[in-house]
Amino acid sequence: MNSSRSNVNKMGNKAGYLMSLPYVLYFFLFIGFPLVFSFILIFHRWNIVTPMQWIGLRNFYRLFHDVQFFISIRNTLVFLVIHIPLQIIIALILALLLNQRIRLKGFFRALYFLPVVVSGVVITILWQQLYAYETGLLNLLMTKLGITKIPWLINTNWAMPSIAIMATWKNVGLYIVLFLVGLQGIPRYLYEAAEIDGAKPIQQFFHITLPALNSTMVLVVILSTIGGFSLFIEPFVMTGGGPINSTLSAMLYIYNQAFYFGHMGYAATLGFFFAFIILMVVLIQKKFVERKD
């Protein structure tokens, strides 16, 4: 009896190993190996075609003297400061509306989710044309309404907020879905009890809805922070990092170093340093947003 059970266990183990093999292979090939290789690159100069050259910690020396890299980090943080609150507020408002008993609920959910599944490059080119200073639709409408044109993408103060607005429009559908899931998980009796106690809708929102959405909020904040840190397509296509480096994101800068200039070692150093910053920011956010109770 014991022997047959042991055989079954062994067979089960084999099947388990076999089934996890594809992911294990994928992990080592596309995550583990690149990660280890990138770490080795940190101490080298390499442009893909010539042999690697050991340069010790010189890439770090360069990093700490690289003004443009720190500008790109500052720009990324500026983007996050605009994008995350904007995204959370809009997504939450729309989720609250879509959580009501309204007509065409499914249609509106699909409508808001549509930009999430459309190619980022397509959306970026579309918005680039909408934002165009002289010929764009937005400025055309503003001129017709007698409002002064806005230099959306050609002014250092406007360019990053413009990109943040576009990114919010593209991604908000995803966060609406997450908030909807959270909202539908809040027990109805809490609202009924609050109503009996005389709580107004605004009080219900702040004392029931928002605390109950805490775990969703943590998820949304972390996901949108990580997504925001990987800001790349929008400045790459729309502005090339301009005007005057105001939309140069850290990812775009790392990409330029690696694939325009062939500084693979330096790009790897920047990548690791940037990953460390992301980790720190996410840990701090988690500490502040997450409630223990």
């Binding site: 442009n47 893909i48 075609v49 010539t50 340069i55 010189r58 360069r62 080119i125 680039q128 044309q129 165009a132 200073y133 002289e134 010929t135 764009g136 055309l140 001129t143 230099p151 993408l153 050609i154 729309m238 502005t239 090339g240 990092g241 301009g242 005007p243 005057i244 480096n245 330029n256 694939f259 325009y260 200039f261 062939g262």
Partner: protein
């Protein structure tokens, strides 16, 4: 059971058929068993693919001992990226005809290219084909040749004749003052909706390094009488010519003569801009897509008002190289000579509207008829001897990036004066060079 037997019989039949096909094919190609087999990568635009296909087909018919397979350069952001990836992956072709001289340093330092002057007739063949001074400019720092100078696309001004006429401009524009004065007349609201809808020109203002090849660098070569960014190994663009170019473009953007919009589509053909800086390849495009009655002309790049002498421009050269992974370097050299033969050069003109790097091009009887029928191409051909390429430097892209940053700050957004912007770009370029030597 019957079902299984039917499947097995079917598979056996298919197998037998495939084996017999292979035998037929083997018999057919027995004569080509000893043929050298070359893979040839050409540029991926349709005109060059058409040219390459025609040349390869003819070659394969006439030279059974060297058989060539054509493949356009794999899709990538640039040919250089695809070639670098191929070198890294050891999947390079035997021969490629889209080599940008600015990327040669990467290719040669990796040992990826065959030294061409090892072939006994290389110098003689090339010296017959092109001016010695121009040939010399393609020599690598180690004094050897790794590229066969093939073609050039001199950047010149293409202008809309109707828009010029309407603005009262009767003579081709030669100087910065003339250009700015014409721009003041041409840039205007045409349909009366209180919005400017016609400009003197358009350039992509994004700080992308290679965009500067077609504005700052082209104008710098013209203003400096043919100088490039380096003088031997030193940075040499911190001079009055650079400052003049920055000041010129600064005046253009300050006065709104170029829009700050990023256009999708061809603003020149759409009649939104009067001028563009372009090479002869664009003639085919304009001819194919122009509206009926669309008239255009070609003129040299404008120069500072006090400039005297010949007007040089950026040549945008593309050359041919043989990769060191080839098993048949001599056969590849034979094929390369065929690609730059007089007859192949004629087809390059006819199919691609690009200028072969050939001396006496405009007087050679072989090309006389072509240039008689294509007078605009004649202007590009006459400009061709007065072109400059780019310096062969591994940090060239970064230096152009440094220039691009300052160009944007000074010319496009008027945040810096030209002298300061040029000095900043040169300072940054020196740091880049110093870093690369550490």
């Amino acid at each position: 059971m019957i079902h299984n037997k039917a499947i097995i019989t079917f598979l056996l039949l298919v197998g037998a058929f495939l084996v017999s096909c292979d035998k037929v094919r083997t018999a057919q190609t027995a004569g080509e068993q000893n043929a050298a087999r070359l893979t040839y990568w050409c540029a991926s635009n349709q005109d060059e693919i058409n040219l390459a296909q025609e040349l390869v087909d003819k070659w394969n018919r006439e030279r059974p001992e060297i058989q060539v397979t054509l493949q356009p350069i794999p899709a990538s952001q640039s040919s250089e990226e695809a070639l670098l990836a191929a070198i890294a992956g050891k999947t390079t072709p035997d021969i490629c005809s889209n080599m940008w001289p600015g990327a040669m340093d990467d290719f040669t330092s990796s040992g990826g290219l065959v030294r061409l002057d090892q072939f006994p007739d290389f110098m003689e063949y090339l010296q017959k084909r092109m001016p010695a001074e121009l040939l010399e400019s393609f020599r690598a720092p180690d004094r050897h040749y790794y590229q066969i100078p093939w073609k050039t696309n001199p950047i010149m001004v293409m202008y809309n004749k109707k828009m010029y006429r309407e603005a009262g401009i009767t003579q081709p524009i030669r100087t910065y003052s003339e250009y700015l004065s014409a721009a003041a007349k041409i840039t205007r609201d045409v349909n009366g909706d209180a919005r400017i809808d016609q400009w003197m020109g358009y350039r992509d203002i994004r700080p992308i390094w290679w965009q500067r090849l077609f504005d700052y660098y082209t104008f710098y070569i013209a203003a400096s009488g043919g100088a490039t960014l380096f003088d031997s190994t030193d940075i040499a663009f911190e001079n009055a010519a650079s400052v003049e170019v920055f000041r010129f473009f600064s005046a253009i953007y300050k006065n709104g003569y170029y829009p700050l919009t990023t256009f999708q589509g061809d603003a020149f053909l759409a009649g939104q801009v009067a001028t563009q800086f372009t090479g002869p390849w664009n003639i085919t495009h304009v001819e194919n897509f122009k509206a009926p009655g669309f008239e255009y002309g070609i003129a040299p790049i404008p120069v500072p008002d006090d400039y005297t002498g010949l007007v040089y421009t950026y040549g945008d050269h593309k050359n041919i190289s043989i990769f060191s992974t080839t098993k048949f370097p001599s056969a590849a050299w034979q094929f390369a000579k065929y690609l730059i033969s007089a007859q192949a050069d004629l087809r390059l003109l006819e199919i691609c509207s690009q200028i072969p790097l050939r001396k006496n091009l405009t007087t050679d009887p072989l090309y006389r008829e072509y240039f008689r029928d294509n007078p605009l191409m004649m202007q590009f051909a006459e400009q061709a001897p007065y072109t400059r390429g780019v310096d062969g430097s591994s940090v060239l892209k970064e230096i152009f990036d440094a220039i691009s940053q300052e160009y944007e700050a000074c010319a496009v957004y008027n945040k810096r004066i030209p002298e300061e912007a040029v000095a900043n770009a040169a300072k940054r370029a020196r740091v880049i060079v110093a870093w690369s030597h550490r």
